[in-house]
Symmetry: C2
Subunit: 639 residues, 2 copies
Amino acid sequence: MAKRYLDKLPLQVALDQLHEEFKNFRAETEIIAVDEAAGRITAQAVKANRSAPDFYASAMDGIAVRAKETADASSRNPVLLKKGVQAVAVDTGNPIPEGFNAVIKIEEVNEVDEDYYKIEKSVAVWNHVRSIGESVVKGNLILTVGHKIRDFDLGALLEAGITEVEVYKKPVVTIIPTGDELVKPVKELQKGELVEFNSTMVKSALRKWGAEVKITDIIVDNKKLIKKEFKKAIKESQLVIILSGSSAGRKDFTRDILKSEGRILFHGVNIMPGKPILAAKVANKPVIALPGYPISALLDNYLFVRELVYLMQGQKAAEFDQQQVEVKRKINSDIGLEEFLRVNLIAKNDDQELLTAVPLKRGSSAMESMVKADAILRISENKEGLAPGDKAPAILLKSKAEIKKDLLLIGSHDLSLDLIRNEIAKRGLDFRLKLQTVGSMAGLTALRRGESHLAGAHLLDIESGEYNISYLKRFFKNKKMALINLVEREQGFYLKKGNPKNIKSIADLKNNDLNFVNRQRGAGTRVLLDYLLKKEGIDSSQINGYNKEEFTHIAAAAAVGRGSADAALGIRAAAAVIGVDFLTVAEERYDLIVEAAMLEDHRIKYLIKILRDKKVREEIKNLGGYRTTDSGSLKILDL
Amino acid sequence: MAKRYLDKLPLQVALDQLHEEFKNFRAETEIIAVDEAAGRITAQAVKANRSAPDFYASAMDGIAVRAKETADASSRNPVLLKKGVQAVAVDTGNPIPEGFNAVIKIEEVNEVDEDYYKIEKSVAVWNHVRSIGESVVKGNLILTVGHKIRDFDLGALLEAGITEVEVYKKPVVTIIPTGDELVKPVKELQKGELVEFNSTMVKSALRKWGAEVKITDIIVDNKKLIKKEFKKAIKESQLVIILSGSSAGRKDFTRDILKSEGRILFHGVNIMPGKPILAAKVANKPVIALPGYPISALLDNYLFVRELVYLMQGQKAAEFDQQQVEVKRKINSDIGLEEFLRVNLIAKNDDQELLTAVPLKRGSSAMESMVKADAILRISENKEGLAPGDKAPAILLKSKAEIKKDLLLIGSHDLSLDLIRNEIAKRGLDFRLKLQTVGSMAGLTALRRGESHLAGAHLLDIESGEYNISYLKRFFKNKKMALINLVEREQGFYLKKGNPKNIKSIADLKNNDLNFVNRQRGAGTRVLLDYLLKKEGIDSSQINGYNKEEFTHIAAAAAVGRGSADAALGIRAAAAVIGVDFLTVAEERYDLIVEAAMLEDHRIKYLIKILRDKKVREEIKNLGGYRTTDSGSLKILDL
């Protein structure tokens, strides 16, 4: 089972190779109506067919006059102009009658009677007269070749007498999804089935870049069938994308097929995720096999396929909106591999320009973290990770202006936070609440580092039985901090339906026949478990599964729901979502933590307002296991 | 003929009023397939229907094992695992068989024989096993309401078991173009006709923002007919736009109609262009009448209508990509009026971040300048213009990265420059050549100010008969400059077909019966004319039309072609474009001027390469009246 060869080219080398190979490869062209040309790319230079205006035209609503007949006019010595002879009424855009050479605007004209206008000011020759070609000039180049047509370009073209334009045809791309385990998007899945959604993501991106996209049926892992589909696709399209056939596993036939049909350009690039990309040239056309992991496929699509689709339309792809950002924690990365990390970005109070990057969950299959990301942080292949204070480039997924307005909350997971996030979005406010769920302790650490605006924590002080305060004393010495109560909520056991293992208390967890699943270190729920175990005099080694960690209440409940675990500790609301039994063990307090100075921030003020809103409190209660009587209450601590 | 009332509200006041009036106005919603949802906006929060994976899955191609059975493995002490019993082959994504709890990746496994695998390393529990919910977690909020769906959002939705999503319907907008003088886009126009193209520009922008757009026939200036069309439109759409009915001229009925059908919100905003916008509320829907001048209509559409279209879809319009830029010349502007000026932007060599803005032609109908613009400079209503060194915000129309790569040439107009611009675009280089045609002298002034990379000039030294050099000595004292020859070209008279006024020489211009048209002050062609007149002892006052100025060769030729002038001086190539007779008067040299240090710039190097290209030279010659034997030759001057 030796690993097949991957080239592992540096990214730029691979991109250059692809560019060199296909730099003259163009889609065909077609002539289309200007009316339909927005967003298309010119295949020929476009010159103006006529000037506009192509006559001397009035630039105002008013009267056309001969300038010299107005020469003596003043308020003391008004001049009368005979209608139709010395003055002709004109609207904006009307031609100046032959022999006339200036326009007086309507506001400066008095109508004396049916025959005469009166004016009190002289005008210069060509006053308010539009020159020939003032807007567009016949013969001038309006658009170069390779120009992406914008809305106002359409106006210039039509005014210049151009009603049709030659553009590149939309390149036709065929996507072939392959894999035994894949099924089309459906609501219910059998165990072991995976939804094939990479094709939808890739298609949507390709369409944005100007391509016309076909997706074939999902082809099972059968070399003959894949080859047959591929040969059809390469005939009918300018570019073929094979999905999840680029790694080096047991059933990856793509490489063999492409080798026999054409030439492999490279297989494997020094990036993470996205390493096992495969590029080939078949029938002089590009073929790209993308990795199966969604984030890998996404990234390679943006890095490689995007360039090709633009190239076929005679354009360079726009550069990514990339910015230098700072990190405030150590981030590991392998040397020799360029890493692309999903991150949130946050503007610091003192420097709104330099954004701080806060890594989201790693892994090439975490779609939620992709949706949550503000940017993709790049860690150079020459670096063994980043240290606090280091800067690195990040590809922005949102505008910097938008990012600077957002609030970032990092902390423990609670279902009411999703509700509040949506409430803020619904009210059309000028900011959004973003959420990273990492556990209470990690939330406090992030806040201390300046990686977030808010932390969310439910940390029990084992000595005092009080929540959060003793931890804040430790984390934020000499600072003035504020606690904003989010909720009080029930913690308890997630149990299989009917509680088959008959768990009634903490002590029942000591059952060797029982599979427990824990929360990650630093999670408030784990602190609570440790507290309960200690109280009962139980050692963690007595709990089978104490070391298996889940990162959210829902994931813990889901492990029970799926049958992989018999019990887990977590909040009641998640039991309702997943549909498992719940046994209450404790009530705890969940607070949001901010620097006290932030209480003046309009976003925090609004957040508190929402927490005190009756309707919102009611909705939170309806999630199950919540008390909201204290939600939005404030405690300010001088630490 | 008194002017009707315009409110002249400050921009922000008008925007706030519009927002307040329609903040709860939403398009209806519809449920669509996720597959078709890219770019649409959620009308409901979307929560995950399932976790993914919702079973423990292999994260690698390899074998599933029980971790404790690998505990003793090392290279000295390899462990054999019985296939099917102690180890099961799994591909990425496959479920981990019940009872197994780790995966060893394929590269680290040796296949001993049909029955056994050999491993040389132990693995930890849960190694390469994907947790339940690693990618998405059931019940988690995936998208808030009011979220514009991106390509990767589609992936997250499908993976989370969501196949349909509730989004806002595309708001239906009806555009009613009105005006007696307007005709649909056609190739040939009658005198006095204007092409109606505002509707096309506005429609294209609205579609980009998510609307569905209908355009009615052009309605003539008849109150009854406009009213009839409007009443139909307001019934069938969420928003109605009336084109060119917002000013206060003789035939502008829009205000009366809207007043009788509903309520005028405001009429007139303190901006330039775009001042006479009219906003109304009819049947609880917004109605906007845009001004007739294209740039005014464009700007008001971006400032006002865009906000409304987003609002109807529950979104805030993204903020404009606005940057502080510097100006290097005095720019006048009326106090009490916020001005929006089309500008080119250029990155300075010493500070690539602060861009310099260089104004393009003013006027609300100059479409070519709109196409050429990089940005729209905003001059606050509180400022009486800008002085050199002042900073002001500019709305970028291109990315900053793109702008920084471009070359900007400001100077005299020559047709070969368009050809070269297109040649650079055609070759797919990483820069574009941008052109502002302003005359030779103004080009040198701009270069000296640091507003351009290159000047283009053909300035005759009346004493020495030499071109450009004596002017450079004056403009660039103590600097090292380079002259790059563009072309040598024929200058002469544009004459009506058949030369009816029988013009044979400069002296024939003294005919009082003759209409001459001149070029603007500072134009090389005007310098040439003055030289020729002086040589013949003719005073400019003897030339009828000496003070009528055109700004390009083509405009001058067009004035003759249209019959408005009998003669003008200019280059031969323009005569061919317009179709007028041409009488050669002189041959002159046209040079590009750069700072000598710029010769090292790869863009300038490439430009010179193009000028020396045989095929390009041939194409320039084919324009008529050009010699290119010296094109691309260099002269370096220590001034």
